[in-house]
Symmetry: C2
């Protein structure tokens, strides 16, 4: 079967599908078109190019062995005809042709196809604000934009920067500008937390603290009204909370799928305007495949179509499309939506649903927060890791996991270990007995993922009653009101009388002395049980329950979680695990 | 339901089961007995104590918040009665009693139980060699032995050490002695490779190279005959390949399950002497549970009972037993046998079957070796990772994965991501589309685990014909014989004429020039296709096939794999990925 495959879009999915298909069907013809001049690049590397960690923009377009992926490369190494600066104007499905325009000279040409691939990707959201077209304001989604930003900072033209949007790209750009170039950076996020939709408010607080410790100013719940400039260049950002001077504004306000061509061709789209594809990534036209940033794929937790515009998805889907172009009938299973982002000292990662996303889906969900070291506590180099599990109450089905840790590799490894369980409708018990590699330099004998399953079971069965660290903060802020008493259950030598609070509000009784000293514990107050990470407090809770002091709750993640959020009740102790 | 639970063995599983049960049934009585004085320790931390990275032996017995897990701790914090230096002599199942002996005074006592837990663990294999009882020779499986070794080295009494056994513990001990104390160390392994049963010969060569680069002498395929000493202390190790001077000999010759008590009590054992348990970890006596190093658990790949003596298994099984003692009917699913070990610059890890283990099981298995960087190649800090997949031919079922990398966390994360697929009988295609967290600091857009699935499919479908790097070495060693020609397919500027070999044995044609220069490629020779990691060579292979040069095979992992094994054909290039 020799045939002509035309692929529209040559960033990630397009080239992958093209090359895979050519390897399977060497005698076929493949034409790859893209409206940009620079194609086949690692767009996710843009923040690292802006930071200077990647020295040349060509590095993002090169293979690991240094070959630039240009027209000659695709022709000689891959047997694929690449046409850059060529825009696809219209698809004629009946005649199976695509109308192309050469942007260099305006010439139009009709190209016929046997099979077509839409890899049209996405484009940045540009907020329709007054002044948004001023010089110095722009997104960072392609190589040209990235070069403009890097040139501005490397030539000293930017004295301070504002990043609009506290999602992945916004935070990566903020880190790039602040860490490597030392520019004062402010991140403005409309939602009341960073990484909305990806982290719980608690973990987002930890992320914000890490950003702030890196020198970035974080402003959440803030609305940008307009931009003001001088001589056509931006000078300040006006918000509902005042003006912020800035001569560089990065628009990291999200992206939207590029599906105009598909829509005009009459292909089926979802309500949100994504191209609908079947499990072989075929659109509603059997001769047209689509994948990457412009399609909807099945969410393996909700079962519904969703949008996951990531380079990794584009690559994996591109390979499947390449196979199916050759008649293989390969299937793409969908995804649970895993993600990761490196901040300053911390990285964040997750997969599946957050608690609020699960509740919005109508699921009876609860979240479980634990803190534990990322490897054996006795192994010299270790650091705390925070993990949050979202789990359905009745079925105990795992719905999502999110986390924050100093070692991104260690965190990502945990998220990846849990991802197959999310896809397979695993339960808290499955997590409790999940096998992960054990050796002291890499994991605890009872690893944090197992602990997460254990604690989830304890909570779901009502044995452990916890509160979120944010609720603890609220109670702490109202600590003088008399209805609450904090009980410090850490071991002897750590549990201490509070320097500023009397016994009515703060009691220090090590957990192993609790049974003997039960008379000291008030019966008329709600007890907030504090320890380093929550485990001592859980043991104390069981003891209090047994001694008729049932009005008690532990603080999830204990002082470790509070500390990482910047909430200081007392001197923090050592990490805890068992 | 109040009851008396007696647990024999207090290292890992015993304490875990005891504490879990007590939390569920606070009113019950638990007695935990152990013949040693020092109990409840992280035995896997012993090499790190010997190295000095862990300063005090107590650190291995302490909770992360610094509480020593002694009798007082178990009594006050856990409500568990711990009896150390107490040996269980006999179980009377009919009367439900255990006969105990206090090793401090020889007093015997009969203790009745409602439910019993056997957590008797394992003991070291002591090879029955002449001289093995000399001073300075011993295993490193408990804290007393660990202290003896560390004292010998810290007091300068050991000028050179020999480690018998090239398994995990042997290698960890060798690293501890060589890296931290600078003692000349020789590892002697009877098998002809390190980590036999856990790594392929190829990966084991990489492990050996890393050990040697760390200064450790590796001798495989060597048999120890006896030990010779002076004044009762060891002075040299006699082998079938000569004498090796040494005043410290660590016996890392494996362990065996401690099941004498179970056997004498008439409990069912496997052929290999492991206690048989059901999925609730109950022995053939419904009132006796067993877990940890003394039991057989189901292997999730072979379906057969197997032995996985790891602290992590003991902890996870201990929690299940604790729940079942309280009447919960929790199940333990078995394991695929994941493991990890940190060497010097490299770490090794794996899960499931090696190729030779799979073949020994009668499976029609093949192995697939890939090399790729451990994160985006354009991200500044990256390193090569080697992964090997074992897969069944017909079904394409995943049977095992093993690897070697500089970042242990990154490697372990990949193994953990694949472990659930092994347990769930996933296929190469599942691996090809496996979702793993993507962000340039943590992964490639087409991550190495996906690449592994892709290459496996190409090999299983006959599109890619490879040879193992060890076979390439053999052909290289016979390179002058004329039947083989090496073809360097790297990009222009990397592919080079060989300084020592003529065109008859070494041709340099960049892959993208191959079609144009096909006339230079001989038709009468077997071609060995070389590139940096194997991907260029695969493209060259497709091109050669299309041009009537079918006598060709690529080298799995390319120059990167060869280089990591210490095999140098020519100057190595840069990492490769696509």
């Amino acid at each position: 079967m020799s045939s002509h495959v035309v692929i529209i879009g040559a960033v990630a999915l397009g080239p992958k599908a093209a090359c895979r298909f050519k390897r399977l069907m060497p005698e076929s013809r493949v034409t790859l078109v893209d409206q940009a001049e620079q194609v086949s690049y690692g767009g996710c590397g843009i923040p690292f190019y802006v930071s200077g960690e990647i020295s040349r923009v060509e590095d993002l377009r090169s293979t690991p062995y240094g070959a630039l992926r240009d027209e000659g490369f695709f022709r000689d190494a891959k047997g694929v005809e690449l046409r850059t600066k060529t825009r696809a104007l219209r698809i004629d499905r009946a005649r199976k042709t695509v109308l192309l325009e050469d942007l260099r000279n305006g010439k139009q040409e009709e190209l016929s196809y046997d099979q077509l691939v839409l890899a049209t990707g996405s484009r940045p959201n540009i907020p329709p604000l007054p002044g948004v077209t001023l010089r110095g304001i722009g997104p960072a989604t392609n190589l040209e934009e990235a070069e403009a930003i890097r040139n501005a900072v490397s030539e000293g033209k930017a004295e301070s920067a504002v990043v609009l949007g506290g999602g992945f790209i916004g935070l990566e750009m903020a880190v790039a500008l602040a860490e490597l170039w030392g520019i004062p950076v402010t991140v403005l996020e409309m939602a009341d937390q960073l990484l909305p939709g990806f982290l719980s408010p608690t973990l987002a607080r930890m992320a914000a603290r890490d950003m702030e410790e890196g020198g970035v100013t974080i402003r959440t719940g803030i609305k940008v009204l307009s931009f003001e400039g001088e001589n056509g260049a931006v000078r300040q950002v006006l918000t509902d909370a005042g003006a912020i001077p800035s001569d560089l504004v990065v628009l990291a306000t999200g992206i939207r799928p590029e599906t105009a061509l598909a829509k005009e061709a009459g292909l089926s789209l979802t309500e949100k305007g994504l191209i609908l594809v079947d499990e072989e990534l075929r659109s509603s036209d059997p001769d047209i495949y689509a994948g990457g940033d412009c399609v909807a794929i099945p969410h393996q937790v909700t079962g519904k179509p969703f949008w996951l515009p990531l380079g990794s998805q584009a690559n994996r889907q591109g390979r499947v499309i390449g196979g199916n172009l050759a008649g293989r009938h390969e299937t793409f299973p969908g995804a649970v939506g895993s993600w990761g982002v490196k901040l300053f000292g911390q990285s964040a990662a997750g997969a599946g649903l957050t608690l609020s996303a699960a509740l919005a889906e109508g699921l009876d969900a609860v979240s479980v927060h634990v803190e534990q070291v990322d490897r054996a506590h006795f192994y010299p180099e270790h650091a705390m890791m925070a993990l949050e599990l979202v789990v359905e109450r009745g079925t105990r089905r795992l719905l999502g996991i999110q986390g924050m840790a100093a070692s991104g590799d260690a965190l990502v490894g945990r998220v990846n270990a849990v991802t197959p369980l999310l896809a397979a409708r695993g339960t808290a018990h499955d997590l409790s007995t999940l096998e992960v590699v054990y050796s002291p330099p890499f994991a605890s004998a009872m690893d944090i993922v197992n602990l997460l399953g254990n604690v989830a079971e304890n909570i779901l069965e009502g044995r452990c009653r916890t509160m979120d660290p944010l609720e603890c903060e609220a109670l702490w802020d109202a600590r003088e009101n008399g209805t609450v008493c904090f009980l410090d259950t850490r071991v002897k030598g750590q549990a201490e009388k509070h320097p500023a609070l009397g016994d009515a509000h703060w009691l220090a009784i090590p957990q192993d002395e609790l049974a003997a000293r039960i008379a000291e514990v008030p019966t008329d107050k709600d007890l907030v049980l504090i320890c380093n990470t929550g485990l001592r407090a859980y043991e104390a809770q069981l003891s209090l329950n047994a001694h008729a002091r049932p009005r008690n709750r532990t603080v999830s993640g204990g002082l470790a979680a509070l500390g990482r959020m910047g909430i200081q009740l007392c001197d923090s102790g050592e990490p805890e695990e068992e």
